[in-house]
Structure formats: structure tokens, C-alpha cells
Amino acid sequence: MMTFTQKKNLLAVLCRQHLRTSDYRSAAGALWSFAGPMLVFSVTYFIFVDRFGKQIPYFALTLLTGIIALSFFSNSVSYLIRFFRSNRDTLVNSQAPGEILLLAHLFVPLLKFITEISLCLIVAFFLGILSPAGFLGTLTLIPFFVLLALGVGLYLAVLGTLAGDIEEIWMVVAHTLIFITPIFYQMPMISPWARFLILYLNPVTPFILSFQALITSQQVPAFHEGTLFQAAAYAAAAFLIGWTTYKKMGKQVVEVL
């Protein structure tokens, strides 16, 4: 069995490996994380802001924040669902702890997310709407959001080894999330029952609202302090369920791969 230092070393080496084989293989590669969101921001700013701007303050920025956060969540969960199958050989032939391989897999999407959300913070700063509390709040919220993605992803990854169609089902859910998460619209624009469902049954909603509110200094209706607690509670619950399932069934999962 590996010692803590050996596990830490393996995690660091694997993170470096994933970084080197991703589009981040050079320092300039990080620019790709800016290029995509910048393009979305430019398009939304110059094309839509004139129309929607009257109804939604800082529409381009809230839209960009929402897209970035939701993309991270969807991609991370997809990565995790594929994790067991794509790492079968390593899992059944080495003593490397599965959770180390798993965390290393999340490293590049996480780095991409942090880079992209930093872009939102920079834009907010130049627009003059970023407050110190908003900045610190965003940084605090990121680990909770990662826990949510990790929890949901781990649970579905374990389930995915027992039922092969989970990946396809997740693809459909991920597409649906775009429409049932307040990214293109704001909560007051939809009916009360839809608002209730989207706020309480979609665990991503409190995070999207919180990121948007923190970055734009609370220019988001339907956001209040309770939303932050709701987000933290969802993250803790999802992580607890996902991690417990993984720890309880991880070994059996490797056997059925």
C-alpha cells in the first residue's frame, strides 16, 4: 500500500502528466481558456446586450459566468462517468489508489474553470462592479462547486459501471441542464412553479445564481444569502453521497470493469 507521501507524489506527477497532454502543454496554452470565453463574451456583448441589456443588467457577464460554471459541471461529471472504463487497465493492474487517479483527472478541467472564472472577475473589475466581498465569495464558492461536481460524478460513475447507459442518459441530462438552469434567463422571468423546481431540484442553480451575484455585486434578482447556504448544503450532501458510494463500492466496481 502507498504511503501518504507516495500518494501525494503520484497525484502531483499525474496532474503534471494531464497538463502536458492537454492544450495547456505550454504556458501559452492557458490562453485557450481565455480565447473561448472571450469570444462568447464579445458575441453576447455586441449582439445581445443591446436587446436583453434593458431587462438583465450585465447580461453578457452573467451569461458568460453561467456558461462557464455549467460547462465545468457537465464536463467534470462526464469525465468522472467515463473514468472507471477509461482507466480499467490501470485500476485492475496497479495498486495506485483510484481516488488519486480520479482527482488527477479533474485537475485540467478545474484549472480551465479557474482560468475562465478569473476572466469573469477581470471583466467585472474593469466594469467597476467587482467588490472585495464578491471576489472573496467567488473564491470560497469554487471548492464547494468542485465538491458538488465530484459528488454527482462519483455517484454516477459507480452507477455507470453497473448500468452501461448512464453515460448516454447523462448526455441528455447535460443538454437539458442548459435550459433548466438560469443562464439565458433570470428567475423572475419564469412562472412561480418553474422557479420553484429550477431552484430546488436543480443542484446547479444556487451555484449559478451565487457566482453571477458575487461577480456582478448582487445584480441578480432571486439571489439572497440563503442561496449561498443552499449551494453549500447541496455540495456537502452530493459529496457525502458520492464519496460514500465510491468508498463502499469502489473495490467491487473495479471487479466488474
Binding site: 500500500m1 502507498m2 504511503t3 507521501t5 507516495q6 507524489n9 503520484l10 502531483a12 506527477v13 499525474l14 503534471r16 502528466q17 502536458r20 497532454t21 487497465d89 490501470t90 485500476l91 485492475v92 493492474n93 496497479s94 495498486q95 495506485a96 452507477l159 453497473l162 448500468a163 452501461g164 447507459d165 448512464i166 442518459i169 473495490k251 467491487q252 473495479v254 471487479e255 466488474v256
Partner: protein, 257 residues
């Protein structure tokens, strides 16, 4: 000989074999109605033995006899269904040279990744880097992408890192012959050194001449049952006779006359 470093008692391992394509619907149906979704396969049945420090043990048996399953349980990758495995040693295993190998990284980066999978810290790999490069004969290719190596060169790389493993208890599964003849002599010499060292080794291989020469003790697994445990010369001969008899019996059944 000293006290046992490994004690296996009444070890049983059951695998679930899925009888049809795994889907969420079938999983649910199986759960709710007790639908026979999977059947059990007894891979190991009541296996007991102990290993003392410094012993060199051959593990033999036909394909599907349970050798790899036993080694995976001993190394902690699989969990026993019943029975116990108690070990006071740090067991390291080599099932597959390729674990951790990334074809899109350079040869040098691969050395660090492969080392990390063997529990070697970056600083430890750095300390023995020259020896690894010299042993693998890949000094001219360090910065080349590993996918461009020939299969023989790849095996040299993987084997050269593996032999830097510091564990006192090593398990090998079908991994004695590697690369070209010149390198095979090198690797055979390494194995001979291991055989005369104080390390504890369990080797699973079909290379009976090698096992007979170097391992004083043999475990023979047949259909998951430990059929014999004792001096290698007699057991390997019995096993060879058994295989010949089984083949003749199989040929007799198939023969129309």
C-alpha cells in the same frame, strides 16, 4: 527461515458475471423483481497458505485457474469474498509493464510517471535516473514521444523503471521475458539477482524451466483450488503430466472416432 510475512486463510473469491447487457432498466428490474441479472463465478475456493520472508515461490496453473485473481487479492486490488489475507510486508506487484505508461509524453516524463506508480518519489527517480537510462539503453531518445518507441524499446523502458522498486515483497504475473535477446539476458540476470536476494517473491509464469531452477516452492492452482503446495521439482512435473493428460482427454472427446 523467519516468521510468515503473508498468511492466507480459507480464501474465497466470487465474481459476478453479468448475463446480458447492463442497462439502468435491467438493473432496476433485477433489483425490484429478483430477475437473474448475474451469476456467480467462484474464482478461488478455500485457498490457504503462508509465505515466509525471503521465500521464492512459483505460482502455476492453467489459464483461468485463478492465478491473477490470487495475486490481485494479495496486492489489495481485489477484496476477498471470504477468508483472510494478513501481511506484514509492503507488497508490490507487476501485472503489466504498461501501467501508467502514456504514449503522448516524452520518454523522460514517462520515467517519472512509471516511477510514481511504483511508489518512487520524484527525488528518488532523479537519484537513479542515470541508471534507468543506462539500463534501458534509451539515452538518445529521452525527449522523444514514447509512442514513437518500438515495442521492444517500450518494454525496456518499463522494465528498467520497475526494477527500481524498493519493496521487499514482489509479485510478478507472466512478466519474465522482455524485449530482444540482449535485453532478455539483462533482465534474466536481474531476476537471478532477485532470486539470490533476501526479497520475497511470488512468480506466476508458464516458463517452467525458469521457475524450477529458481523457485524452491510451488503453488499449483486448478479451477480456483490450491491443488498442491510443496517442492517445485515434483509439483511442476505433476502439473506438466496433468496438462498433457487433460489435452489428450480433450482431444479424445473432440475426436469423432
Amino acid at each position: 527461515m523467519s516468521a510468515p510475512v503473508l498468511e492466507v486463510k480459507n480464501l474465497c473469491k466470487n465474481f459476478h458475471i453479468y448475463q446480458q447487457q447492463k442497462t439502468l432498466f435491467r438493473l432496476g428490474k433485477s433489483f425490484l423483481k429478483g430477475f437473474p441479472f448475474k451469476r456467480n463465478l467462484l474464482a478461488l475456493n478455500d485457498v490457504s497458505f503462508s509465505v515466509k520472508a525471503g521465500e521464492k515461490i512459483a505460482l502455476i496453473g492453467r489459464n483461468g485457474a485463478g492465478k491473477t485473481t490470487l495475486l490481485r487479492i494479495l496486492s489489495g486490488i481485489y477484496q476477498p469474498t471470504s477468508g483472510s489475507v494478513r501481511s506484514t510486508a509492503d507488497i508490490q506487484t507487476l501485472f503489466n509493464f504498461g501501467v501508467g505508461f502514456n504514449p503522448y509524453l516524452s520518454v523522460l516524463d514517462n520515467i517519472y510517471v512509471l516511477g510514481a506508480f511504483q511508489g518512487l518519489l520524484v527525488s528518488e527517480v532523479k537519484a537513479v535516473l542515470e541508471e534507468i537510462v543506462e539500463f534501458s539503453e534509451l539515452g538518445d531518445f529521452l525527449y522523444m514521444q514514447a509512442k514513437d518507441l518500438s515495442s521492444g524499446q517500450k518494454q525496456k523502458l518499463l522494465f528498467s523503471v520497475f526494477i527500481k522498486n524498493k519493496s521487499d515483497f514482489l509479485l510478478f504475473d507472466e512478466s519474465i521475458s522482455v524485449a530482444d535477446q540482449a535485453f532478455q539476458i539483462k533482465s534474466q540476470n536481474w531476476f537471478k539477482q532477485m532470486m539470490s536476494s533476501s526479497k520475497t517473491l511470488i512468480l506466476s509464469s508458464h516458463s517452467h524451466a525458469f521457475l524450477k531452477e529458481h523457485c524452491p516452492r510451488t503453488l499449483w492452482l486448478e479451477k480456483g483450488v490450491l491443488r498442491a503446495d510443496g517442492p517445485s521439482a515434483g509439483i511442476i512435473k505433476d502439473y506438466s503430466d496433468f496438462c498433457i493428460a487433460e489435452e489428450a482427454r480433450g482431444a479424445g472427446i473432440k475426436s469423432p472416432g
